[in-house]
Symmetry: C2
Subunit: 397 residues, 2 copies
């Protein structure tokens, strides 16, 4: 009888011990999410969860499909990421448990997205079929479908989508030379304002950190198209003639990301197209005020959170190099080679370190922004974009 | 026997069921911390945990002592708050479980603190005994004690403490007319740089959002003391003669908080002392460029995250009023009365809403920054300072 009793006890205790897996397994149960991040592993269609305090990787989330050129945004609380795959899938990932909680095939070809100011709507920008789609961040149900129909039956590829204050989004129509401003305060009845003839083939765009200026690069001609969204009557202005792709005499190995623009104080630093230069632009006059020679064709030009330094990576053949520009002297003060095919840089929110992905070295380097010392290295499978949860607090990302 | 067996089963199951309380109770177990906040309830010595997504209160943490004029900072991950009580106690609070996990009586009278850029050190600024103390954020063990000894045996009250990049902190000595810059990269051997004769009685200070300029208000004379920390040889300059307390002809019902300075674009908006005006200052020349008439003596002058509007509260007798200034027209565009004794305002990180504490109405109002509609009201016990976890991502707070 004793043995039977003992046996029962053990059985019950065993039953008690086996609980459904919780975040305890990841050690995240009672930790905050403010110092977490994700790096896109394009080869394996996975995301690696990063801890910027311990400078380590916590684990992986698999099954995200084609993650080439993938990007993501975060929920207000930093617990969920919304991942936009090139294959047109939108995935919702829960960081504390490292699980894929929802996934919808929302288009044939997607090139990123954004999240509304209040975190209720996530928006995907699509090439095929051209347009944007609005989803509920809770369950990824479709809330609004806005085809970029610029002529009967003709849909344009959409680029340069950015969120704006007040449940608004702005995006560019590559095939229509238009910029659309969508007000989703009533998402089932979106209000669309169209800016036409903005310039030939807008290929990417950015919003200034204050959400005031929307600037689209033009593939088909020189210059950029800019809209002051704070103006009583917003209209399109052309700025920086000569910046554009059109009259570009040099071969371009990789088009720069306009989101790579760095705005530090009243000056903006942006990658010249084709040239081995970083352009310096006055954000009051939007005129070019200087050019800084660099090691190659710049791709990302990123300002440290304090704006004191600007970090630059490059297109082939110089894509193993990173250079650092001091914004006071406007000179390159440091250069180094963190690995092969440096694709992205992400600063910790208060700027003490920068995380750099080197795709062909399967490496992430964590570099001290003052001493330039390498604080840590992590292995990752063909890492590309690095995204920290602090992005949840910022506009236009 | 059967009964005995059943009895044992029930006992064991009961034992299994009773686990130590976890965050499950608060519903926070698997949620992020990026949209949480705390409001100081000074009357009851408690903190109320806020959810800025649901616009609701989650619960309370008790036992924090004298919280009049209390402030707090957050750990990098947003899970812990470090609370500086006026009674000289430093408390560590864990948000997901709403528990007080550590508390040290570190001085007789404390007036706030800061956290290092990497989140390893939390620093308290003290009136009694005058100086700063550095604690390990893990367990609140004392790492460094830096008395503000400006003459043999004479300790000054410390004010205007701010964190700077690179494990540095800057603070002002009210009784010594000095500003000290402490480098804590070796916290057991701190390096102190002293600026002397900065002006009479620095009473509070602020750091610009980029961490470049440290500006101290002077109680004993006109003007402010400014240090450009990016200069090759930082030195003290006097700016805004006439701003200071010294030659102030009007009675001052409450000294403005300099941290209430709003910097929007290249302009700074700051409370005039005694006058019913908000001063507008060009941050390139540091000269006054405009004065905006307001409803009373301004206390906090806070810029929305996008810098498009500046919100102002007031000293008695106008402390039931809040006014909103449009930074484009530099005119007051809205005024309202969210309750009695409006003490503080805090914007959600992307600026869609502002949370306002009205101490004598035991009320917190959540106001839409575009429509000015009241989105929610929460009850709190004599609420004062409101602090969102997004502060963990910012310098100089």
């Amino acid at each position: 009888m004793r043995n039977l009793l003992l046996c029962v006890l053990l059985l019950v205790l065993a039953a008690c011990a086996s609980r459904p897996p919780t975040a305890t397994a990841t050690g995240l149960q009672l930790r905050g999410t403010g110092d977490l991040g994700l790096v896109v592993e394009r080869a394996s269609g996975s995301l690696q969860l990063l801890d910027t305090s311990r400078r380590s990787a916590i684990g992986r989330v698999h099954g995200l499909g084609d993650l080439s050129h993938a990007s993501l945004v975060y929920s207000r609380d930093g617990a969920h990421a919304y991942v936009f795959g090139r294959d047109g899938a939108l995935s919702k990932v829960h960081l504390p448990t490292m699980t894929l909680v929802a996934r919808v095939q929302q288009s044939g070809n997607s090139i990123g997205g954004a999240i509304s100011q209040d975190g209720r709507w996530v928006v995907a920008q699509n090439y095929q079929p051209g347009g944007i789609k609005v989803f509920d961040t809770q369950d990824l149900t479709l809330v609004a479908d806005i085809p970029a129909e610029y002529a009967p039956g003709k849909l344009s590829r959409v680029v340069g989508l950015a969120d704006l204050p007040g449940q608004r989004f702005i995006f560019s129509l590559f095939d229509a030379d238009e910029i659309w401003l969508a007000d989703l305060s009533q998402p089932r009845a979106p209000q669309i304002r169209k800016f036409k003839g903005v310039g030939h083939q807008p290929y990417d765009a950015l919003i200034t950190p204050d959400g005031r200026h929307y600037i689209a690069g033009l593939f088909g001609e020189d210059g950029l198209a800019k809209i002051d969204l704070w103006a009583a009557e917003p209209r399109v202005e052309r700025i920086l003639a000569g910046y554009g792709r059109g009259a570009q005499p040099l071969p371009v190995f990789k088009m720069p990301h306009l989101r790579g623009w760095a705005i530090a104080g009243r000056l903006a630093y942006l990658p010249a197209i084709g040239r081995h230069e970083v352009l310096v632009v006055d954000t009051q006059s939007w005129a070019e005020v200087a050019r800084i020679p660099v090691a190659g064709q710049p791709v990302f030009v990123m300002a440290q959170p304090d704006g004191r330094q600007v970090w630059v990576n490059f297109a082939v053949p110089d894509y193993d190099t990173v250079q650092v520009i001091d914004t006071q002297s406007q000179r390159v003060v440091h250069a180094f080679k963190p690995g092969k095919a440096v694709l992205h840089l992400e600063f910790t929110p208060r700027g003490e370190a920068v995380w750099i992905s080197a795709r062909d070295s399967d490496l992430i380097s964590v570099v001290d922004t003052r001493s330039f010392a390498t604080l840590a290295t992590l292995t990752a499978q063909s890492p590309s974009g690095i995204f920290f949860t602090s992005r949840a607090n910022r506009m236009g990302l």
